[in-house]
Symmetry: C2
């Protein structure tokens, strides 16, 4: 049920289609983040209208509340949240490493305390598989160790070793669970795919080793993890380019947690097919809009009497109906609608960027798009290549 | 440009059409409250889809932020907030009496300090006219004195005297300003109507005096103020019935700040044509839904595994797509979308109630509707009549 095919290429960039049990995703694709089963400040019908093809949801949050067993009982995540398009869930590892308290990493897995109620939990590679099976997402991620930045070569190599051992355990458990008639949980999605994650920090030789090890385990597709964690952006692009080039051409490539609009274009040019990031939604709630003229902080006093749209070149609901002055007023007044209208715009900008990217690959104009995005967002570091 | 005609009657209930510069309102009508130029948690297109015909906005809030002069410069409230249907603005008085600090009432007007920044302001009957002219709403309300509850007959009579003197000043200023070629502010809505407000507390004789005095000043239409402020509900219905019966049959009648679903049906049966209330929107954000089976507190633990819709009889977006379990999860998780989905449902319930009321008047079945709403919401006090 899960498959991927490349339909066009342009340099290292690929235009493709990813088939999942809940529909087709045109790639390169951006996944809005619905941490707790909802993309903050907007409704599913808003996402549909914006052309969102797939949502990312966070296993850590859903596992703690309302609980994966409850979601399984209620028919799986799609049914529970009322979203019938594809869903990718992460392994929960990243949030355990970034949000949870008193975490201890052992070979078996990670113990941590819930940031909600302090209860103690153990996340193992097998548990990450089980919980995501209960959720029934279309794409499950294997549990990896999230390396701190900066990390020495020695520390990164050691961590990579654990990530590879966890990957093998996660894959074994994933395949075994699917072979069982009466598993420990009800499957709402028997055709779930599992992606491996390439780690190795900022070291090309370790990234190469990670690709070798992960490919030899074998997953439906592969993600590039451990980037956008504080390293210089040129280095992020270098590692992305190095890693993507080593991955199979017939598998979708997912760059986790990235990024800015320029990052999207730059990474697609280096062979990436999928992205997720909280930037468009989180920044929207903080009043920052991504526009065809660059970033715009709607709370700035200069917009108090500005009756122009946030982005004159934009066709989103917000830009067609509301002025900068009104959006600034809503933000200053603390109205929830400020978050909604800003989020609608930013997601439109991101999803429209992906549309432009897909067209540019087909028409061979990706370099022009890349130059254009680098002009629009000049605050981004210069192209590393 | 402003007019009202009754198209059907059934007992004291009236089915009508109110024409305003921004369109027709089918009455009886409910006005969602958009305090700061936005109905909390939903977008204007949501309101459109729900069939909202007219929005109420609060002069006090808009005067303080972003400022009425700014809104006038930007073309008036409709243009500023991007809402092209009718808007009613209150006089600002109620908020001055309930929100502002250090308020002092004198014959000239009310001095108060802003709840936002402590600045001192003076609201007079003339100022209330000026500010609403700057806003350019379709219906402006005259400034009245908001009487505390309970109040003695003497206190209520004294307050009514001031309200009538303020009404005369407000009306004089309203008519004079419209006659001026170069007023002190730009009009974005020359066809604005002004409603008088009937006060008199819980005393029928004072309500009668208030109607006499206010009618002799003469407004486009009349509101019943000073109810739903803590008095017993049967008394509220009695005063509503007494007052509505004294008002001209050819003017729309607006019962301010009311109320529950039962209040709507009961008050229409007593001759009321228009309502506004924060109940559906505020309660939604607090997790309380109005349904065909009564009130439902979505945060209750009993709904954690309930995969049924909030209201099986409801056709709103929320009820068609989401379960009680999901809505409870969103509420518990503090997701903004909880407020949005609950608000969509509650406003649908209120606006659908008005639809049913309008049909019931035409088909002569209002008594059945009234009985049905009293069964659904039994927590409401028994019918006072």
């Amino acid at each position: 049920m899960f498959s991927f095919k490349v339909t066009h290429t342009h340099g290292s960039a690929r235009r493709g289609e990813m088939h999942t049990p809940h529909g087709v995703v045109q790639t390169p694709a951006f996944m809005p983040v619905g941490t707790q089963g909802a993309v903050k400040a907007v409704t599913h019908r808003d996402l549909d209208a914006l052309g969102a093809q797939i949502m990312l949801s966070n296993t850590y949050h859903l596992y703690l509340r309302p609980g994966a067993e409850r979601i399984a009982r209620l028919g799986g995540l799609h049914k529970f949240i009322g979203w019938n398009k594809p869903i990718l869930t992460d392994s929960g590892g990243y949030q355990v490493f970034s949000l949870a308290a008193r975490r201890k990493v052992r070979e078996e897995g990670v113990t941590f305390r819930s940031h909600l109620d302090g209860t103690e939990h153990l996340l193992t590679p097998e548990k990450a598989v089980d919980v995501q099976s209960q959720l029934g997402s279309d794409i499950a991620m294997v549990l990896d160790e999230c390396l701190e930045h900066p990390a020495s070569h020695g520390r990164a190599r050691e961590s990579l070793g654990r990530t590879l051992r966890w990957a093998q355990r996660g894959r074994d458990h994933f395949l075994k669970a699917r072979g069982e008639e009466d598993g420990p949980y009800c499957f709402s999605n028997h055709a779930q795919a599992q992606f491996g994650i390439i780690q190795g920090g900022t070291f090309p030789d370790l990234r190469t080793a990670s690709v070798d090890g992960t490919l030899s385990i074998g997953f439906e597709a592969y993600a590039i993890g451990g980037l956008s964690v504080g390293e210089p952006i040129p280095l992020m692009y270098d590692i992305t380019e190095h890693t993507a080039a080593l991955l199979p051409t017939d598998c979708v490539r997912y760059l986790m947690g990235v990024g800015t609009p320029v990052d999207l274009v730059e990474s697609v040019a280096r062979g990436v097919d999928m992205f997720d990031c909280v930037l468009p939604t989180r920044n929207a709630r903080n009043g920052q809009l991504f526009t065809s003229q660059g970033r715009l902080n709607i709370k700035n006093a200069e917009f108090a009497d500005d009756d122009g749209p946030p982005d004159p070149a934009c066709g989103c609901y917000t830009c067609r109906h509301f002025s900068r002055a009104y959006l600034r007023h809503l933000f200053q007044a603390g109205e929830m609608t400020a978050g909604t209208l800003n989020t609608l715009h930013n997601l439109h900008f991101y999803l429209d960027t992906m549309n432009r990217i897909r067209e540019a690959i087909v028409f061979g104009t990706l370099e022009e798009l890349r130059q254009s995005y680098r002009r629009i967002f000049p605050a981004q570091p210069a192209d590393p290549t």
